[in-house]
Amino acid sequence: MTDDIHEHELHAYVDGSLPETRRLEIEAWLATHPEDAARVQDWIGQNQSLHAAFDSVLNEPLPLNLVRAARRPALPVPFKAIAATLAMLVTGLVGYAIGLGSVEHAPAAPSAYLARDAAIAHAVFSPEARHPVEVDAAHAEHLVAWLSKRVGTQLQAPDFSAQGFDLLGGRLLTGETGPVAQFMYQDKIERRVTLYVRRAVAGNTETAFRHAIENGVDVFYWIDGDFGYALSGQIGRQAIRQLADAAYRQLVTASATP
């Protein structure tokens, strides 16, 4: 046992930034040093409390003024048209903000916004190292039941184990058409993909399998009945395609069986 444990290594232990061998050494040290263990425990608790207090901000609808500010130097078209376009582009995250204004929803292919919203949600949550999901896969049954209830249909988390991806968990988001379920998967080298499911805009009967690239994120998406599905990731178009095929087969088979 080494006595050469530095204070900063205890912090690095809490923040998950130690190499594995050193992490184990620290763990052994803590097992025999209750005072340090108590401090470390409290620090971990602090991080947890921060996430518990502020993670909900991630899922708040974005205020429209911020969306505009983020997109300001857009094409020189009349302001109202810009506002309407912006509103449509980010509907998944600014639902409430749009409701406040008088922006009319264009009737154009809503499925394109499905891809866009799914890609944004992927970009927001997939880099979260420690809290990527609200409910983890250890509670998969609860997760699926909870999201099903909120989204309003019997959901299913597809099984991607044949493609090397395991379910990490899921979270509930806010979308223009109501609650959105996001399932997250991860492979052995910690690449992540997300499946985004929400109620489709009424009257939309498209079922074609489509591909889009949104800010470098590959999205395969389709509408099945009343629901839109989008699988997003940055693992190469072919790999995403294979996962999307697997999801489509599993989900459509499931929904075809009464």
């Binding site: 204070e7 900063h8 912090h11 690095a12 923040d15 998950g16 930034s17 992490r23 763990e27 803590l30 263990a37 401090r39 470390v40 425990q41 409290d42 620090w43 971990i44 608790g45 602090q46 991080n47 947890q48 409390s49 921060l50 996430h51 518990a52 207090a53 502020f54 993670d55 901000v57 991630l58 899922n59 708040e60 974005l62 205020p63 003024n65 911020l66 969306v67 500010a69 983020a70 997109r71 300001r72 130097p73 980010v90 995250l93 944004i120 970009a123 927001v124 979260e128 190292a129 420690r130 800010n215």
Partner: protein, 165 residues
Amino acid sequence: MHARPDLIEHLPRLRRYARALTGDVNRADDLVQDTLERALAKLDLWQPGSDLRAWLFTLMHNLFVNQIRVRRPQETVMEDALDEPVSGGQMEALDARDIHAALARLPEEQRAVMLLVGLEQFGYAEAAQVLGVPPGTVMSRLSRARERMRAMLAGEPAVKLKLVK
């Protein structure tokens, strides 16, 4: 298509950090808005391929520091002067869950480090870059912030946790 980065995907996390940093919804969103304006004005200075998120947080940090200087010059005290241990006589122990109040009582520099590392999951080197201070300063501020927080939240641990990873 020109490869102009999209700032929208960074909005949720900028808002989370600003909310925790300022403790106020409106002030936080104003800070985010200022950050976006600054970012768009200076986008040419951003190196494509480098971490856009870290760059945005750096801009936000600088704006925040300037705001503090302007708004409350009389309260801008040196970090060390503020960093006395919290004694029971001065301050009631906060409810273990009242992380908001505890954060508000941390000196700004310590709060920023605590949030960048503990909430936003920046590495120490990245946090140092965002704050424009040496990595050693990040470590000492983090250490002080966590100990101070412990003192404030003294009593029951905030959450019963297993020590995993």
